[in-house]
């Protein structure tokens, strides 16, 4: 917990219902759905859309200046593609302004992804009834 707090940007209460629409699984057993973990200014290592879950792997810099790898679990490829989020959204090396989600309860450096903010202001919503892209300014 000590190391986690060093680069934990913000933890806020979120709606439990927000994870129900695109995720088949309840997730409450494996993720703390009562909080939102936020990482700022991260670098994409890998992004893959598969069923039953996609995956985003990224690097975040902790308070000590060390790069730490995190893995974010996504909804299924089929559900995300229907929401307009496809394979081309992220690429290795991409810089992301913000990655947010529910922290894992059983594994370190692991979360369920809820949204990503891109440097251009676009926001990709990965869970809940509003999954999809929200373009900057909309």
């Amino acid at each position: 917990m000590r190391y986690l707090s060093a680069y934990l940007s913000l933890v806020i209460l979120i709606s439990l219902a927000g994870f129900s629409a695109t995720a088949h699984h309840n997730g409450g057993v494996y993720f703390d759905l009562s909080v939102e973990l936020q990482h700022e200014n991260v670098t994409v290592v890998d992004y893959q859309l598969f069923n039953p879950h996609g995956r985003l792997i990224y690097l975040v810099t902790d308070d000590g200046g060390n790069e730490v790898e995190w893995s974010a679990e996504l909804a299924s490829a089929n559900n995300l593609r229907r929401s307009g989020i496809g394979n081309e959204v992220f690429h290795p090396g991409d810089k992301l302004k913000l990655v947010a989600g529910a922290p894992g309860l059983t594994e370190p450096n692991f979360m369920r992804l809820s949204r990503v903010e891109l440097p251009n202001g676009d926001v990709a919503i990965f869970s809940g009834g509003g999954a999809g892209f929200r373009r900057a300014g909309e």
Binding site: A17, A23, H24, H25, N26, F50, T106
Partner: protein, 208 residues
């Protein structure tokens, strides 16, 4: 004309027309009850507390089966024939055969993820009873277990109101539950809907 004749023959014994593709529009929590409303037996409570991802067939790319797969956030297609109703799920390409001709499960039928389903009409409501379900399954990912006992069964009731198909499922598992576990579902008729391939990669099973 040929198409019309085929359609009439295909639904001759149905009391309502459910045919076509339906998009999931389930209630909050995927229609599952609040955990505080579920009444487990002491044995069921022990199983609940021992729950883990290893109980989830879908994380190993096996179909969810019944009761876990009663509702999913994916489209389904329903095909009505004289002797059976087919429910084709996008999720894991799951296929359910609901026998409507009065047959019962043969003696050799083994417990399986999909079980053995028979159905009948009560007015315009389709009633399905499923037995022979595998103990290698569970009711819902909040950790609710399923015993797979021979006495366990699932009752489903489907009814159509315009372009909405509603569903109630009761999981009868007296070994683990003091009273039936009840789940609700809702689908919207989607004449232009699509059933996609659902390729599954076990390495991407994740945790839920």
């Amino acid at each position: 004309m040929a198409f019309l004749a085929t359609s009439i023959v295909g639904t001759a014994f149905a009391q309502a027309d459910f045919q076509g593709i339906w998009n999931a529009q389930h209630p909050p929590r995927m229609g599952q009850p609040l955990p505080s409303d579920v009444r487990l037996t002491p044995e069921g409570q022990a199983e609940f507390e021992d729950f883990g991802a290893d109980k989830d067939p879908t994380l190993r790319c096996l179909m969810p089966g019944i009761p876990l797969g009663l509702v999913d956030p994916y489209p389904i297609e329903i095909v009505q024939q004289d002797h059976q109703i087919l429910i084709l799920y996008e999720h894991f390409h799951q296929v359910r055969r609901i026998f409507m001709d009065g047959r019962q499960a043969p003696d050799h039928w083994l417990p399986s993820l999909i079980g053995y389903s028979t159905g009948h009409w009560e007015g315009e409501t389709l009633v399905i009873k499923t037995t022979h379900m595998s103990p290698d399954n569970y009711v819902w990912t909040a950790g609710f277990p399923f015993s797979g006992d021979e006495s366990a069964y699932v009752l489903e009731r489907y009814s159509r109101d315009g372009n909405v198909l509603t569903f109630t499922g009761e999981v009868h598992d007296p070994r683990y539950y003091e009273e039936p576990y009840v789940v609700n579902g809702r689908w919207a008729f989607a004449p232009d809907g699509e059933i996609w391939e659902y390729e599954c990669i076990p390495e991407f099973g994740g945790l839920g």
